[in-house]
């Protein structure tokens, strides 16, 4: 039973401790947590394209008609001024000319529809960001307090959360929306009010995350050194649950746009003469068969915004928690993102792994020193921790 031992170069004959120290001394490029996340995010094609699309939509809506919407940008028409209806208000952008007089057409009283859609986009984005902001702040606050302090604080906060969840979201949002109409501040107030109805998901997720972080040894270490709860929550727990929070906030944006659309459609959202994408659709729903462009243009913008925000959220989630799926050689392409290219079943994977050369979705062994310890999404949010 003689086996030829391959010659080992002398530098390999080290104890693991020394080898590790040597590796550290050899100044290799070091990545911070943030850099790693950025790297992964920019390798996620659908997310990057979506970001470009979203940035384009935001720039377009702001530069074209300006913040006021009164034609202060490069597009001279205001979304409020009426005029003569040319050619039945048909869009001019398909008629040979580059954009023409009214690229998106005109509505029934001759307002420029491009300016209106741009204004609607501005308002819808404002609502989306306002809702995401207020619901995230509220949700994180409730979730963090409930998760950290447990006991009666948790009981009270989570029962309040349950009550808000039980009431149908749309009814609640409609009540808050109607109430916000009486307050100054316009669309932003509306957005903050809608946020009061949508924070529950974030609160529950953040609580679950905090519950799991509570058991981490670095939190125990901070408690043992006498750190104040505020410091532990703000410095240790929230930064480590930033993944859940950011990802959830992006999805909240997408939800908020659709919620605002629904509210405006029902008449509880943005009020005339102010407009939003949802309001535009609502106002022109009867024109769908006769003048479909009045329906299509705002609809397209809603789809574009909601879809790109969702993809960005996807990309962020994958970037912040690479263990959840894919990495290495196979980045998600467009077809995978749309679910057209299914992932192989466990059975196929088991068979493939021995013969196949290319990498697969699971990242098993990152190179030494690159191991990531991002937030873990795998925790069961309902996991009851032992009272201690």
């Amino acid at each position: 039973m003689s086996q030829s031992t391959p010659p080992i170069p002398p530098e390999d004959v080290r104890s693991a401790a020394e080898a590790e120290d040597a590796k550290l001394a050899s100044a290799q490029r070091s990545y911070s947590q943030g850099q790693l996340v950025r790297r992964r995010f920019f390798a996620h094609k659908p997310a990057v394209v979506s970001m470009v699309v979203l940035a384009f939509i935001i720039l377009l809506s702001i530069t074209s008609i300006g913040f006021s919407g009164q034609g202060t940008g490069w597009w001279s028409k205001s979304f409020l001024s009426t005029g003569l209806t040319v050619d039945g208000g048909r869009p001019t952008m398909f008629n040979g000319a580059f954009l023409g007089e009214h690229p998106f057409g005109q509505d029934s009283i001759g307002r420029d529809y491009f300016a209106m859609v741009m204004r609607g986009t501005q308002q819808s984005l404002l609502v989306a960001i306002g809702v995401a902001l207020s619901s995230t702040v509220l949700g994180v606050l409730v979730g963090a307090l409930a998760g950290y302090f447990r006991g009666w604080i948790e009981a009270v906060l989570m029962r309040i959360t349950d009550v808000v969840i039980v009431v149908p979201l749309l009814a609640l949002a409609a009540v808050f929306g109607a109430y916000a109409q009486g307050l100054p501040g316009g669309t932003l107030t509306l957005a903050l009010a809608i946020g009061l109805a949508t924070w529950t998901g974030t609160a529950r997720l953040v609580r679950a995350e905090i519950l799991s972080l509570r058991e981490k040894e670095y939190v125990s270490a901070a408690v043992a050194m006498g750190a104040h709860p505020a410091r532990i929550i703000l410095k240790h727990m929230l930064p480590n649950s930033i993944g859940v929070i950011v990802v959830n906030a992006t999805f909240a944006i997408a939800t908020a746009i659709l919620l605002e659309t629904t509210l405006s459609y029902l008449g509880f959202g943005v009020q005339a003469p102010e407009t939003s994408l949802g309001a535009l659709i609502q106002n022109n729903q009867n024109a769908f068969t006769t003048r479909p462009w009045l329906f299509w243009f705002p609809g397209l913008f809603i789809i574009a915004i909601a879809l790109s925000v969702n993809f960005i959220g996807d990309g962020l989630r994958d970037a912040i928690d690479p263990r959840q799926k894919r990495s290495g050689a196979s980045r998600p392409g467009w077809r995978t993102a749309f679910g057209l290219l299914g992932r192989s079943t466990a059975e196929e994977r088991a068979g493939k792994q021995v013969s196949e050369l290319s990498g697969g979705p699971t990242q098993m062994q990152p190179p030494a020193g690159m191991t990531d310890h991002g937030p873990d999404f795998g925790h069961d949010p309902t996991d009851e921790k032992r009272d201690s």
Binding site: P239, V354, G369
Partner: protein, 577 residues
């Protein structure tokens, strides 16, 4: 010469990752004969688990494998999925490290065993059930006929591992791959499981491929040893040769790094006792000085208070207003500058004691005095001030440092919490401490995920020492580390202890580690004190039978000595009934 039952020929495995391909195994060849135990040893990252799991086809999707794995002459790597599936469990089976996760918690043991038998068409229906009961009896589960109806959580860790082994031998495999089968178990249970594996091997003439990092287990079990380093085999040979006369410098270092439980009469002991006497007198002198310098009102005549003192302490966990008492009537004193080892098996309550001292758990009864003051009853301001005097090192190097903090911030955090120093003096302190734990100061701006386990544990120690505490709580600080890394950390730890002179409560399950560090030892079992005294008294002249059992169960990395210890242990157990 019989044909090998399992042979690896020039195995190469690489993983595709985010940062390019990583070669985990670089051309490894070895063989397992029928009825032979081949131990693959190596530290983490050596590729020992990856190599062996190629035989089961259990590598993740991003791995690529080259070479040949022959199971009785058939190449496993060329097999189709269906062939592989037939192979797994019947010709080759596996015993995993964690017995809890290896069994399905929602299925009865009977269902899982019967399934294993039916899938491989060994037996069906009631016949399979009978066979399953036989198997459980074979692996030493008492009252198998009634117990087989129970769920995995109703068994203890050792019994679960026995059930996993029963499943592994269910279809009479030619080879069993045991991947760290006893690492998650207590030493006494480990010894029992190893006994069982040895019996089964002789009875069934199965080849066993044992993957382990524990040289004691190797000495106890193996016929032949394969030593791996960085994905390559550095040395292979019979166990007596590898452990007795290793040729390769890496093997020698690995053996030298093993902490040893010294027996009475060990020459190094007398030397140590001599040093001890000197250092005790020195310590007393320095304490006297220290005591007068910080004398607290009550006059210089009062003796220096103990660093930590427990008086009739009882601890309990509360769950839904129901308290479960896990520690009873605990009494001990740790003098300044003294290391006390707190040893016991899992569930003994040793970590709970550490938690209570750190203020992470309320004390149900009794007094827990830190420097003479009963900490649990202090008002919160004084409590916080007292916490300056306590440093902590936890077990898991992956979880004990906040991944979002750069190392510099981690080390200086205690100063920030206690509002001490300004930015510059904090950074100066961090540099000083990094120097003390022998890490370059360039580490200050790095993040924990860039460091290895041993380095992170050194950062943990540095953080614990930031405020110059008088008491350090170390909760299994080296049990997650490789032996050579553990040796380096332990050496550093005792050096720092001599330099800074802190008292320490050192919680560990490893008697050898405690032996190398502690001045005195407290043995716990089921929340009660079994025995306490100086290290020499407890570890070499144990009075209690439980301590003797613990000592006898710890394997040593020498096949002859281990064989002798094994018979001794069996005699001890027989005497105890």
């Amino acid at each position: 010469m019989p044909a090998p039952v399992l042979s690896y020929k020039d195995i190469r495995v690489s993983f595709a990752t985010e940062f390019g391909d990583v070669d985990a195994v670089k051309g490894v060849s070895f063989e397992v004969m029928p009825g032979e135990v081949v131990a693959v040893v190596g530290e983490s990252g050596s590729g020992k688990s990856v190599t062996s799991s190629t035989a089961m086809g259990l590598l993740p999707e991003n791995a690529s494998v080259e070479g040949e794995v022959l199971l009785e002459g058939r190449n496993v790597l060329k097999m189709s999925t269906a062939e592989l599936r037939r192979l797994r469990g019947s010709d080759i089976s596996m015993v995993f490290q964690e017995p809890m996760t290896a069994l399905n918690p929602v299925l009865r043991v009977s269902d899982q065993l019967v399934e294993a038998l039916q899938v491989h068409e060994v037996a069906f229906g009631s016949e399979a059930l009978e066979k399953a009961i036989e198997l459980l009896e074979r692996v030493g589960i008492p009252e198998a006929r009634t117990k087989i109806r129970q769920y995995p959580h109703q068994f203890s860790g050792g019994q679960r591992q026995r059930i996993v082994i029963a499943m592994a031998i269910a279809c009479g495999p030619k080879v069993i791959i045991a991947d760290e089968p006893t690492t998650a178990l207590d030493v006494t249970v480990q010894a029992e499981i190893l006994d069982l594996l040895r019996e089964l091997k002789q009875e069934l003439n199965t080849g066993i491929l044992l993957i382990t990092h524990n040289m004691g287990v190797v000495a106890d079990m193996a016929d032949r040893v394969v030593v791996m380093l960085n994905g390559e085999v550095v040395e292979t040979g019979p166990v007596a040769k590898i452990l007795g006369h290793p040729e390769h410098p890496y093997t020698r270092r690995l053996l030298a790094a093993m902490p040893l439980l010294r027996e009475a009469g060990d020459p190094s002991l007398e030397l140590e006792q001599e040093q001890e006497r000197v250092s005790v007198s020195e310590r007393a002198a320095s304490e006297a000085r220290h005591g007068t310098a910080t004398g607290k009102g009550s006059g210089a005549a009062s003796p220096v208070p103990a660093a930590l003192e427990a008086k009739d302490v009882a601890l309990e966990y509360k769950f839904r207003r129901k308290a479960t008492r896990v520690v009873h009537d605990l009494n001990f004193i740790v003098q300044p500058g003294e290391i006390m080892g707190l040893v016991g098996e899992s569930g003994s309550g040793k970590s709970t004691v550490a938690k209570a001292v750190l203020g992470l758990l309320d004390v149900a009864e009794g007094e827990l005095r830190v420097r003479g003051e009963n900490m649990p009853t202090l008002p919160s301001k004084q409590k916080k001030a007292l916490k300056r005097e306590i440093g902590v090192v936890f077990q898991d190097p992956a979880a004990s440092l906040d991944p979002r903090f750069p190392i510099g911030d981690i080390i200086t955090e205690p100063m920030v919490v206690h509002k001490e120093g300004d930015k510059n003096s904090r950074m100066a302190r961090a540099r000083e401490l990094l120097d003390a734990v022998r890490l370059p100061s360039s580490v200050l701006n790095r993040y924990p995920h860039e460091l290895s386990g041993g380095q992170r544990q050194r950062i943990s120690i540095a953080r614990a020492l930031t405020l110059n505490p008088t008491l350090l709580i170390a909760d299994e600080p080296t049990s997650a580390l490789d032996v050579s890394v553990q040796a380096a950390v332990l050496e550093l730890f005792s050096e720092l202890q001599q330099h800074y002179g802190f008292a320490c409560l050192f919680v560990s399950h490893d008697l050898a580690v405690v032996d190398s560090l502690a001045h005195k030892v407290l043995v716990m079992q089921n929340g009660r004190t079994v025995e306490q005294g100086t290290t020499d008294q407890v570890l070499r002249h144990a009075k209690e039978s439980y301590t003797q059992q613990l000592l006898a169960a710890a394997p040593v990395p020498n096949p002859e000595v281990q064989a002798r210890r094994r018979t001794e242990r069996q005699r001890l157990l027989a005497a105890l009934g």
